[in-house]
Amino acid sequence: MSAQRVKLDREAEVRAALASVVDPELDESVTELGFVTAVECSAEGEVRIGFRLPTYWCAANFAFLMADDMRRAVQVLPWVTAVKVQLHEHMYAEAINQGVEQGAGFEASFGAAAEGDLEALRRTFLLKAFQRRQAALLEHLLEAGTVAGDLVGLDVAGLRRFELDAEGERLATRYLERRAVVDAGDNSLAFVDTEGRAIAAENLPAHLRELQRVCVNAEFNGVLCRGLLAVRYGESEPQPQPIRIVRRPQAAGAH
């Protein structure tokens, strides 16, 4: 294999790894959002990743999380010897780039100004992602004709066995990636609330309305971020996923 071919393959591998990194707030891939601007791999296994955000002011804590997640996602590739992630045109670009390179935590990088608990923030947004992914899957299943009573009683193993179309498979995989965010103890039900509690069939409409609040917000943010990114860099907007309406299911027993 030529050196050039190896380089291209490696870059593709890096991009694939980066696709798994999400903007915590939007729960969308940093590559799909157009944040990643450059991937370079040297013959020695060094990787340089360039990225940017919609504004100079985007929250430093989220920027740090994304940069650190990118480093971690790429570092596990077997041929990688070093990873350099560089955020550009951001108020805290320097502090973030240095902090991530040195493997320092957010608080270490920002000193006294960083009082917040980044792990708590990460968890808050993992929970929101759990809610969004659950909403998308529930909506899909209800639309396909599954009844509320069957859904709320389904356990995780049951969901894995559940007969699904291609879109349903995709949504279920995405949801199950986040199912463990909620500690449900011995409760192995597939669909639980953020406290790990079962959902009564008659409460499913109210449950979905709450989830919808989270979905609409995140999708609205996505539009805002894409729009600002596009005007900042004079490009056409990356196209968003179509917004999903969470339908109000029929009350249990109405089928």
Binding site: Y56, W57, A59, M91, F110, A114, R213, F220, R232
Partner: protein, 339 residues
């Protein structure tokens, strides 16, 4: 004033306007430059192409342009100045109560001038607030909980000093607390969009109204949740409304959520002028109908009654404006100008 096709006149109070100086000459540092850049990004993203301004005009548009855009070319009848001091970024501040008061003196029936405070100024700031309230007969303040101040990167309304200031507001008759919970002003690790402090403050200060500017974007979901539980929490639609033209579907989703969780009595129109102009915003809102599927899913209703509340009735209630009397005053003013 917006007149419907059936001839009904709708009184419009713009809950969120600025008269800023973002010019190079006023910028103190890189942050000042990037701050106005970011505003211009919002402008170019959502202001209709044919109505977009040049960068030069956007940096500092001035009083006459403002008056024309709001009250002559736009449909605003009155407007509320929300100050944004940002003295760490701009030499004379970005947009201060004192500067706004100059315009109010020229057009006393058009403007409401809000003040500002920063609880990190502690005792000295309380005295300054008293003075500001007396000079400008303040009925409202605008707070930036994420604003920098020395080593501090923000505060919460639940901080002990913030509570002292809120107590003082109650005493001074400053009943409307507008809190910026939205994008653009940098948050570091303190999550500046977090609306949880509003929840506590609203419970503890029942005599005050908390108007959450930009509806807590990008934490709209959390905002809806707390606002539902508090009777004295309102949503300011600045930044939300401009999506109506380019992204009507998203706007429909958001406004339906707000209507479902908060209801039409709790929402206030605001243009966020000069980022956007009231002409098209109001034309679009008046013409807007919720798509049937969204209305059906959420049960939200955005009819003429709801629009009248959002555009003026709610702000009139919060600021004690007698709309009929105000209409007469403004009509007299027009006659005087014509003569």
């Amino acid at each position: 004033m917006f007149t419907t096709s059936s001839g009904e006149e709708i009184f419009v109070i713009d809950g969120h306007i600025h008269n800023w100086d973002g010019s190079k000459a006023n910028q103190k540092n890189m942050h000042g430059e990037q701050f106005i850049n970011c505003f211009y990004g919002y402008h170019t993203f959502l202001q209709p192409k044919e109505k977009q301004w040049t960068r030069e005009k956007f940096d500092c548009y001035g009083a006459e342009q403002l008056y024309r855009d709001l009250f002559v070319d736009g449909y605003d009848d009155m407007a509320i100045f929300q100050p944004t001091y940002l003295k760490e970024f701009y030499i004379n501040g970005f947009n201060t109560t004192e500067q706004n008061a100059v315009l109010k003196a020229r057009y006393p029936n058009r403007f409401i001038v809000n003040g500002a405070f920063d609880p990190r100024d502690e005792e000295a700031g309380l005295a300054a607030l008293e003075e500001l309230a007396a000079t400008h007969q303040l009925k409202g303040v605008k707070l930036y909980t994420a604003e920098w101040k020395g080593a501090s990167r923000g505060y919460k309304l639940t901080d002990p000093w913030a509570e002292k200031y809120l107590e003082r507001c109650e005493k001074l008759g400053i009943r409307n607390i507008h809190v910026h919970k939205g994008p653009t002003i940098l948050p570091l690790d303190r999550d500046a969009f977090d609306v949880a402090d509003i929840d506590h403050a609203a419970t503890n200060f029942q005599g005050l109204n908390f108007i959450v500017e930009h509806c807590g974007l990008p934490r709209l979901d959390d905002f809806c949740w707390i606002a539902t539980q508090e009777t004295n929490v309102y949503g300011g639609l600045a930044v939300v409304l401009p999506f109506i033209r380019n992204k009507p579907k998203y706007f429909a989703h958001v406004i339906s959520q707000l209507l479902m969780w908060l209801g039409p009595d709790k929402l206030l129109y605001g243009s966020d002028y000069g980022i956007w102009t009231p002409d098209w915003l109001i034309e679009d809102l008046m013409a807007f109908e919720l798509p049937e599927d969204i209305a059906k899913e959420t049960g939200a209703v955005l009819d003429l009654e709801a629009k009248k509340k959002i555009l003026g009735l709610n702000a009139a209630r919060l600021y004690g404006i007698d709309i009929a009397a105000q209409k007469r005053l403004l009509a007299k003013e027009r006659v005087a100008v014509a003569a």
